[in-house]
Symmetry: C2
Subunit: 358 residues, 2 copies
């Protein structure tokens, strides 16, 4: 009577939201299983007011699982997602590990649900900053084509996990209540838990998310470039990003500049966005209406506003795009992929094993 | 024995920094006079540990003043700066009022100090967000030319005055200490004291600074466009800005994309910036070195980093530019203009009255 759904990384910031999204989902769920590291195994979380005991993520933990949502870090996905596939589950992976794998579709359901067809067991959920940009830009791409994107992000700390949220709150309290100078604050996680140096985020803006690649862009920035091309199935779209962390707990904002192939009328662009599923037009500057992070938190939608022509380029358009990075940027997009798989009759074991068991 | 220097708006966030910059200035100051509104007249402030009684700003307050630094809002400058000029003073105006006036040079000393020659009594100090961008880009413009700028700002609340700083601190405390939801916070000043609606800045990013103009850009955004053309003396430079307030008290950050006329080598660009007065190169991503707002506060310099080629445009360059908005963005640039006037022998009454007495 319904699917057995597993959440891997159930104790994380995204995992908590995945559980909530599954509680509210239309997906027929027969049984829920919550997996995490050995450290959390045995603890109890709730699903629809029922106690669920957390199990350890192991190679043999996926027997009987139909859908497994992974959000416990790239190395956990690399190690265990192939075992989940082997056990007959369909994996929706929220980490970056399989996003560029040729056999893993990279899906924002409103944009490219068709890519789910013929999946081989693992579907990748794009990076938070990419997803909301795709929802805003796909209606424009469909009508006028897309040549180029330049994006600067204003990303919330919850994208870096529960520890980053606590670090931000502690730093802010140390300045506001104890009078510390922001530059003297202790930092242990941000800008990137995996990098050597850590810097304060309170009253700061950090132009580093994830570690740096060889071309002086960060991995986060290159995710936006590579994932856009894969999702929109067009390697010719030029994308350069600057990804910045700011002292906001949840809700990513983005200043997006695009050049379209054909010149677009701004009124028509606004209409196209307003009519696109998952996108909400919030654009009435005469009444100071534009998207704001604090208003987007808790919503599954992507909010778009400040849409205006470039002052010089006829095919240039600027806009401001905001969404809840834990929901559409992660947990909701993952659960939405699961719902799409169900609606398309694609929740079944794969017939070809394309992912290496390690 | 030195100049009589007046500070108009002495009680404001910028006024306080102007007093500090004058204390540390090489300018020969014989007497300091502190002016403000009638409300503040009679209060006492310190200059070099001496008590100075604040006087009311009136039409007749400028007798004997050699240099008057204005930072009390555009309407105060509009009303009183011409009277200061008539009384024989040279005015350095930190408000937007005279910036586009054909007879008021708009000056960033490192970039266009030559524009001070033949002044007519009022010199305008550019907007904070423009100044730091000019310091970063002028060395590039000089060597390779500049076709185009796309900038997204991450601006601190102190640019909106002491009230905005207090509002931000109160909102953050209400969330951190009293558990309020950021979207339910009370706001009275930001995004713009002069606009109808006010929104919370705590844990938010507000894509509005100053009020909106007819073309759906804000005045702040249009300042960056118009001021860049005037300072660089080139109307052909294309500039489109997105100006955003973030919950940082001081220190503006900017994600700047440019296209040069000639293709520039990135190593040469870094060298040109490092050698430019007022600019500091902070760019070593292998060691996570890049400009940060918290580190820029208190410095007169503009910090530039994350310099890298666009991934697709051969003449495209991205960078991250940070400076203390109250210092180089306002008080220091104003005092620096006064120092330049002195060094060039230009502190004298004007011979032609070009500004209307109201």
């Amino acid at each position: 009577m319904g699917y057995t759904v597993a959440v891997v990384g159930a104790t994380g910031a995204v995992g908590a939201q995945m559980i909530k999204m599954l509680e509210e989902s239309t997906l027929p769920i027969g049984k829920i299983r919550l997996l995490a590291s050995a450290r959390s195994a045995g603890k109890v979380l709730q699903f629809k007011e029922q106690d669920i005991i957390i199990e350890e993520t192991t190679e043999t933990a996926f027997d009987g699982v139909d859908i497994a949502l992974f959000s416990a870090g790239g190395s956990t996905s690399a190690k265990y997602a192939p075992y989940a596939v082997k056990a007959g589950a369909v994996v929706v992976d929220n980490t970056s590990h399989f996003r560029q794998h040729p056999d893993a579709p990279l899906v924002v359901p409103e944009v490219n649900a068709h890519a789910l067809d013929n999946h081989k067991g693992i579907i990748a959920c794009p990076n938070c900053s990419t997803i909301q940009m795709m929802v805003a830009l796909e209606p424009i791409r469909q009508q006028w084509g897309l040549k180029r994107i330049i994006v600067s992000t204003y990303q919330a700390v919850s994208g870096a996990g529960v520890g980053a949220i606590m670090e931000t709150q502690e730093q802010l309290r140390a300045v506001l209540n104890d009078g510390l100078n922001p530059k003297d604050l202790e930092a242990k996680i941000l800008p990137s838990g995996g990098d050597k140096k850590h810097y304060p985020i309170a009253f700061n803006a950090l132009p580093q998310i994830d570690v740096f690649t060889d071309n002086d862009y960060t991995y986060e920035e290159m995710k936006m470039t590579k994932e856009t091309k894969k999702i929109m199935e067009d390697d010719a779209i030029a994308v350069s990003a600057t990804c910045v962390r700011i002292p906001v707990l949840s809700g990513h904002s983005e200043s997006v500049y695009i050049e379209t192939k054909e010149i677009a009328d701004i009124t028509a662009v606004k209409k196209a966005i307003a009519n696109f599923p998952g996108a909400v037009l919030e654009d009435d500057v005469a009444h100071q209406i534009y998207p704001q992070a604090v208003n987007a938190v808790g919503s599954r939608d992507t909010f778009v506003g400040r849409i205006r022509k470039d002052l010089d380029k006829e095919n240039g358009i600027h806009m401001w795009v905001v969404s809840d990075n834990l929901l559409k940027g992660a947990a909701w997009n993952s659960v939405q992929i699961a719902e799409s798989l169900h609606e398309r009759g694609l929740v079944h074991p794969t017939t070809e094993m394309k992912f290496e068991l390690k």
